[in-house]
Point group: C2
Chain length 313, copies 2
């Protein structure tokens, strides 16, 4: 085993997700060293801080990787700049405001010989890998996704999620889709959708989707941002070997009368992300799976829109 230098990483955007998740997981991973932060209005003690990414890249040649934790609407330009400056790039979810821009980034990364990692944190929940392994080779007969949470609790004052490009309730819903596409042994697509837009917002507060497997079985999804009290993040799949149930956003899994995983909701998902990023950087491999966001775009394209009560934060 060779001892290698930790990867100097710059974290761009010091909002809630960076502080709650990225910084602790970087601190806990010996493969990384927090080398810089980039933010217009925030900084951390004892860490070089910059107002703009290009400035940071120019000043810090030892920054080998960049984690983009800014809203998706501004991500493309930063990712391109980092790739062109020869750095590897990690993207918070959703990876971009459009699917096509991430496909373009993927090609840019390949041309530049850099690593691009489009992360889906929920895929690192404890029950996801065991659920995928249990489902391998089984037939899917149907299913139900219930992803209901309180937007005021998880996205306090985050205006960008309500602005065009911010995805609205699909911001959590895409987590469910990222888990579903990771565990299913077949492909799915959105067959029908209904989206509820608050009168005063550009993105939906609730959505119901009918996903179809290529064999025609239906998986019904219920995404809602108006749930107070206990939060619900569940995926239930019927198979020819009985039901599989994921709860806690994928942290707990049971199937065939057995417990496959039992962890706390949200525990160490970002530790999983940074472990995987270290592996990808070492292997010089990109990982860009666009299916979760493609299903969201499809739902917007073919979904029926309804208007509902105005939402005030």
């Amino acid at each position: 085993m060779t001892v290698t230098e930790p990867i100097g990483i710059a974290v761009v955007g010091l909002g809630k997700i960076a502080r709650d998740q990225h910084l602790p997981s970087i601190a806990a991973n010996a493969s990384f060293r927090l080398a810089a932060t980039v933010s217009r209005n925030a900084s951390l003690p004892d860490v070089p801080s910059f107002a703009g990414l290009e400035e940071a890249l120019a000043a810090m040649p030892d920054v080998g990787a960049v984690a983009l934790c800014v809203p998706p609407q501004v991500r493309f330009g930063m990712a391109r700049a980092a790739l062109e400056a020869g750095r590897d790039v990690l993207l918070e979810k959703p990876p971009g405001a459009s699917v096509a821009e991430v496909m373009a980034l993927d090609r840019l990364a390949r041309d530049a010989g850099r690593v691009l990692y489009a992360t889906w944190h929920s895929r690192h929940a404890a029950g996801v890998a065991p659920a995928r392994d249990w489902l391998a080779g089984r037939r899917i007969l149907g299913g139900r996704i219930t992803w209901r949470e309180d937007v005021r609790r998880w996205h306090p004052g985050q205006d960008w999620i309500w602005q065009a490009g911010g995805l609205g309730v699909f911001d959590p819903g895409i987590n469910a889709l990222s888990v579903l596409t990771a565990i299913l042994p077949v492909e799915v697509f959105v067959g029908a959708a209904e989206l509820e837009f608050p009168a005063n917002r550009d993105t939906p507060i609730a959505a119901r989707l009918t996903l179809r497997t290529t064999e025609g079985q239906a998986i019904e999804a219920d995404f809602d941002w108006r749930q107070t009290g206990p939060q619900t993040w569940e995926i239930e799949l019927e198979t020819d070997a009985g039901p599989l149930l994921l709860t806690g956003g994928g942290a707990q899994a049971q199937a065939g009368g057995a417990v496959l995983a039992q962890a706390e909701a949200l525990a160490s998902e970002y530790d999983g992300i940074y472990a995987e990023f270290a592996r990808l950087v070492a292997a010089r491999e990109s990982a860009v799976d666009l299916r979760p966001q493609l299903h969201v775009a499809d739902a917007f394209m073919l979904g029926r829109r309804t208007q509902t009560d105005a939402f005030e934060d």
Copy 2:
């Protein structure tokens, strides 16, 4: 040169596009023989006709290919059935109600060893290939797409275009996007969009898009279905070697002070489709370029929606 039997083809859906375009182009192409039609309520004299596709496939083993001219909302099941029955498949545009279902079809076709051809008729307009050749290696500095037509003239009584999944003004707009993506030497993505929905319809009657090249240049698109009088289908691109102009939906092209192509609008686009399909079938190659519809899905996902006057057909 070997004399080969013409390919027996079944046309599914006998609506306006099948009668105006597909049937004449099949009749004019010696590589094809119209073997059957499938329609719940229409038939042609002297051509075997069936109410359902599976019935036609079972009864007509000499049907080697199927052209799906039904609305996109019902296309997936038919395409899957045809591929699984060992037939090659041609899809009218848009290839499906969702992008993901066409990706799934593409994999099914590959697994089944069949040819899948997602057609974009506007790409066969006379000016498209010369425009692509002229643009090769040039830098795009900006551009403008104007695609304004009268929905009452082109889609009389076609309810499906107004129903969720029917795309609305993107049904013609996707033609512009199919041309743009065919001729540009760089990739583009939707950076911003505004969509106008009639109060009584599920799909937009007008849309304005800002497309961005990966280098950051803007191409502004104006799609509108409310234009009476002369119809406008134009793409103008600024380059480092001067402007390129496509008019008549791509039938006419000029650049660098020279006329590159000069044909009638809509002339023989479908002849081009069937010539290409014959080539693909002979070569056992699929052609599935999903970028035009991906840009539409992205526009729906990140676009701002506004409501406009109710539209009555």
